[in-house]
Structures are given as C-alpha cells and as structure tokens.
Symmetry: C2
Subunit: 394 residues, 2 copies
C-alpha cells in the first residue's frame, strides 16, 4: 500500500502519447494544444477606431474647434483616404483610422453644427485608436503547448485567422465490468443482485470530457472469462478501465488476469478511502486502471487518478481537477492512516462535507460538486479550517 501522492506520481511518470493530429478549430472541444502558437499576423492589422466618432489630426484641434466633415469610414471599409487639414472623418467602431488622423473623438463629445460641420470642444491626443499589433505582433508568442482549448482560446485563434491546430489524439477507451452480482439495467431485480451502474457513470464522465468509449465488456467473476476479455479489450484501446474484482477476495480475478496478459502492475492498493484496492498497470502504450467495484470508489478513483491520466495523455499542461483551498463548514473526524476523499458541495464562502460517504452509496455523489481531500495523518478538521477541494467537471 503506497500513499496517494506516490500513486499520482507513478501515473504521471508512466503515461505518454506522441500521436499528434491536425484538426479544424471548430472541432477542438476537449483537446489541448500540441504545440506553442505564434501570431501569424499583427492584431489589429490596421489602426482601428475603438469608438463611433470623428477621426481628426490633433494639431488641427489645437488651432480650431471647428471641423468640416470630409468623408465617412464604416467598419470593413477599405478606402485609402488621406485626411485633409482642418477636416474630420466620420468613423465607426472597428473601422480603419485614415492616414493622417491621430485622434478619434467619441460622437458623444462633439456638437453637430450642420450636416457638413462639427464643433469639437474637447479632444485627447491619440485617444480611441487601437494601435497595430496592440493585442499581438506577428510572431509573438500567443499560446503555450498544453493550453486547454476553451471558448476564449478558440475565439483568439479565429481572430488571428488560424484555421487548423495540432492537438494530441484522444484515447480509445474500453470498459470491463466484472461481478456475478451485476444485473443489466432493464432486467428484473433478483435477490442478491444489483444493477450495474459503473459503466453508466464512466461513460457519462468521459462524455463530459468529450471522450467516447469504444466498447463495454461485462464478465462474471471467472478467471478465464476475465483474462479473455482483457486480452480482447487491450487490442482495441489505449485505456482499459476495469471495475470490481481488484481486491483480494477468493473471487477477485483481475490482478491474476492482468498478469496472465503480461500487464506490468505499476501499483496496487493506495492508502486512501474510498478506493483502497485501486490498481494501475501498463502494457506497452496501453494503460489499465483496476477500479474497485463500489460506485463511489469508482468515481472517486476516476476523478483523482484516471481524469489526470487522461488529461496527461491528451497533452493538457494542467491535469488535475481545479483545486481550491476553502474553509470547511462542518468539522470532520477520521482515524490517521488513510487519505480521505469526501463528497462535498462548494458554496460561495465555504465547502460542506456531505452525509452518506460510504462507498456503496451514491446519494452524496449525485449532488456533490467537489471532492475534499483530507490528508492521511490528519485526524480532526475543525469547522473553518482550510481544506483542499477539487472541483468536479460541470
């Protein structure tokens, strides 16, 4: 049994993915950049008016407040107008400031004398003009490799005329649910059996990450069937998530089946609650997580270990769930020895540990928006103490 931080470190040292693909930016949801991005253009690429108003030469304003309207430039106009002395050009937000003009006066600050003349009582030199390259100049460093492609990132890329980007390929994923007690949803409930739910939560959380599942296998607690399913799944995927059968009971065949499939076991069992029996293995460029069977253990292990592993595979520079230290709104006691991950709700000023933390219960996870981590050696957390909260994807 190794500490949580060692398990995380081992995963981080193991996972790699070098397959880079080129995609169009409108397909980029769920990806991270596979290389740095430099600006292909100055932005803005011309002097832009920041306001609806009048473009003038400031030295003319110092001589007289009266201006003749020479012309008009709309946003998108491509006119080559040279501003004449003592004249003003009507201009709109986003339009190209004409050569010769060095100041744009906001329309709210001028007085219209008649259709051809205006009076400008006040002007500030160089105001309301966005300089060429004021967001970025040609070849400026814009975005780092590993940046998550969010809406803001996509907007910036489009802004700069970038149509295609390199990203790390998403993984192929298989799921294997083990357990003789598992009923398929829709079957009649039988004594001693429970509905299989782990494949549903895994598929769902992967969809939230915009990652699809290739195939789901289901087997009883049987060594040969487990071995065969693992063998087949490993030909189809980069990541295999197995649920159940990873403990040390007489009918837990996952470890043995993995070994028969020549999977190297990187670790098995962590000092944590829930999810103590977690297993992580590797076979060539394929990664295997043996997740405990209880539904809350599965999701906790997913968010703490699988989520970062997948993000690392997909090249994200930040792989963990977003961590925030917040005051706890209720005290919590535990024995020293295991790190606890607790279903919790983040409020505006605090984080609340929920009831029903047992790993077979899902009613707390069903409404939680965070997992709180209490360190292994900690025994009492007092109300108001800062605790580490991991935000669940939403």
């Amino acid at each position: 049994m190794i500490p949580v931080c060692e398990g995380k470190k081992l995963i981080q040292e193991t996972i790699s993915n070098n397959t880079i693909i080129e995609i169009e930016i409108d397909k980029a949801v769920g990806y991270a950049l596979a290389n740095d991005i430099l600006a292909p253009i100055h932005f803005p690429s011309f002097r832009q008016s920041a306001m609806d108003g009048y473009a003038i030469r400031y030295e003319d304003f110092l001589k007289s407040n009266c201006f003749i309207i020479q012309d008009e430039i709309q946003a998108g106009d491509n006119k080559n107008i040279d501003l004449e002395k003592g004249k003003a050009i009507r201009i709109f937000t986003g339009a190209k400031v004409p050569d010769g003009a060095d100041t744009v006066v906001q329309q709210e600050h001028i007085e219209i004398t008649n259709s051809k003349n205006i009076n400008i009582p006040l002007a500030t030199f160089n105001s309301n003009i966005r300089a060429i390259g004021s967001q970025c100049k040609y070849n400026d460093f814009i975005l780092k490799k590993g940046t998550s492609l969010q809406a803001g990132t996509i907007s910036l890329l489009a802004n700069l005329g970038i149509e295609k980007i390199n990203v790390f390929q998403k993984p192929q994923i298989c799921i294997l649910n083990t357990g003789k007690e598992l009923l398929k949803l829709g079957e009649p409930l039988q004594d001693g059996k429970v509905f299989e739910s782990n494949s549903f939560s895994l598929v769902h959380v992967l969809k939230q990450m915009h990652v699809e599942v290739t195939e789901i296998y289901r087997v009883d607690d049987d060594l040969e069937k487990t071995r065969t399913a693992i063998e087949k799944a490993l030909t189809q995927c980069n990541f295999l998530f197995i649920t159940g059968g990873v403990s040390v009971g007489d009918y837990d065949f996952v470890l043995e089946s993995l070994q028969q499939n020549k999977v190297e076991i990187i670790f098995h069992k962590l000092k944590q609650k829930p999810g103590k029996p977690l297993l992580f293995g590797q076979k060539e460029n394929k990664y295997i997580f043996g997740l405990p069977g209880n539904p809350a253990s599965v999701l906790t292990c997913f968010y703490q270990y699988v989520y970062p592993a997948l993000r690392q595979y997909m090249g994200f520079s930040s792989v963990d769930l977003l961590k925030i230290n917040l005051p706890i709104s209720n005290s919590y006691c535990k024995k020293a020895g295991l790190t606890h991950f607790l279903k919790a709700i983040i409020h505006e000023n605090s984080v609340e540990i929920l009831d029903h933390q047992e790993s077979y219960k899902m009613n707390s996870f069903a409404v939680a928006n965070a997992l709180v981590e209490i360190d292994a050696e900690k025994e009492i957390v007092e109300k108001g103490e800062l605790v580490r909260a991991y935000l669940l994807p939403f």
Copy 2:
C-alpha cells in the same frame, strides 16, 4: 441603462420552457431532471456484506470462538441458506448475508484452523452488514427536479434500476453575425477587415454545454438583410444570438430589425464593462440576445446572461456559473458607475486579475478560468480583499 442585477432578474422572469422529453439515462449529458425522483426500490434490496469474511450469529460467538464453515456465498449468489447454530458462512463483499446471521467478521480478523474450521477471537455485533434500504427505501425522495445530471447522479439512477428519466428539451439555437468588416476564416486578410471569431467561440461554449447550433447566419451592416436573417432564424430556433450591430452607430441595425420583426425589447444596455450595449428580447417563446461585436464582450455576456438563460430553459435549479468568493492577488482600480467583469485565473488560494482586459483583445480570455465581478460603485479593490469569482466551464 439598467444595473447588472436588474438585467439578470428580467431574464430570469422571462425565460420558460415546458417541453419535457423522456430520455435514456445514458443520453443524459447536459440535461437537468424535469421532475423529482423517488426510489423505485429499497437500496440495498437485501442485507449486503460490506467485507470479505464470515457471516455468523453473534450469540454463538458469545458462547465459543470456534466455528465450523457451513457454506459459502459469493456476491451475486441467490442461495436461501439458513445459518446453523455454531456455524459460519464464508461470504464476500456485496454478497447477500444469509438468514440467521447478524454479524460479518472481516477475513483479516479470523484465524483459519483448517479447511473446515475457523477461530474468531473478536467480533462486533451487527458489523459489516449493509441494512436493507440503508441508502434509500422504496418511495424515498432521491433527487430534486432541476438536479444537473452529472456522473454521480447517473450512477445513482442506474443503481436504482432507473432506465429513463424526464428532462426539459434542449433549445434550438441560431447565431447571426453582423458586420461588413468580418472575413470568413480561410479568406485572405484584407485591409480594414478582421476574421469573424464570435461564431467559433459561441459554438464552442455551447458544445461544452452539450448544446448544438442549428444554423449560423452572416450579414453585412444592412437593415434589410439583417431584418430578413432575423425573420428566417426566428422560424428555426428558441434562442437567437446576434453579434455586433447592437450599439447606436449609424450602421447598427439590430435594434430596428428586431422591432420590425415584432420582437419585444426587454432591455437594451446594461451598466457594465465590457458588454454595455447588450440587448435581450422576446418574441413568443423565442429569446433573442443582441451581443456586442467585440469578442471579449460576446463571451462575457454569454457567461453572465446567456449561460444562465440557457440553463433556466433547460430546467437547471442552479443556473449561474459556480460562484466562489476568493481573495484577489492583485489590487484593481476603476471608476464608479459600471460593474466590471474581469478575466481571471483561480489559483489554490486566490484569484488573479489578468492583463489585457480590453474587449477587442482575447489573449486574457484564452487562458482565463474565471470571471471576477467588481460591483458598479466599487472603485478600489485592495490585494487580499474577497471578490466574487465565476468559474468558467471546463
């Protein structure tokens, strides 16, 4: 010009959606529950062993530590075994505890005498048994209408054998980009023009919400073309997002086009920066957002107004982005009068306001994970002061 909170209130009072559809739980990503859920079964539906170990009658243990192994029950077994006096039944995690047994002793706490006998030095009455209905009893209230269908929620539903649920239908969405200055990505850059980026960020952030866009329209700054595009889009969608043309310049035709289309203007212009010209309108059960043209204004208005509006339409009980009050890591000054929304990064213990807040720049939004709200009347925020941070979807 109305305050931010009034704009939000008006949106909240306007949006409604009564179209409920039934979906399978594996299609539930991005939805909220359209009704309360009651438990259709007890869970667990039988007394479950919480450990690998031995099921015994506690009063037998009080008489003797020696037990004969009577039988074995695996998880999933459906045997009707009656525990005999002085005997123990080998049992595994998740298995049905046999009638007569009232205590499960963990395998780590027993001594194996031989293949048929064990010695139990220590036992606690009723331990390691999950009682029937200890997560929930038949007809217990389980989940509230409006609950977001996250992985944990889906797991709970599957657990209880629930295959289908009612959710509010997702909206049909159209986008209309206005502006003579807009180039289509891929076209050669021309003087006075910029690449259209707002449709990309809107499509992307909607995909992050698991909502698709029906159609994207593009028109020049032209009253007739704008009117026609709005007319057509309104026949196809529940939400129309228009970018640009919503200010008061001579070529801003959105307001007039909406009025010609008999759209009721609920508000136009908010006391905020960026995004002052934001417009919200309604025509029957269709909702229209006139978003300013600058890319950072578009996304800010999306996250503050459109995101909650869509979530309300889809029946989520919590509609805003997750709000957390965090200490600011750098001071910030502004004039009183407008609420400021600032691109920011949440760190473990603080939130950092980024440089490049101007609404035509996207380099801060490209890396931000939060928007910080500074109230209209506030002028100085000192380092360390608590500010309201809205988490961007990730």
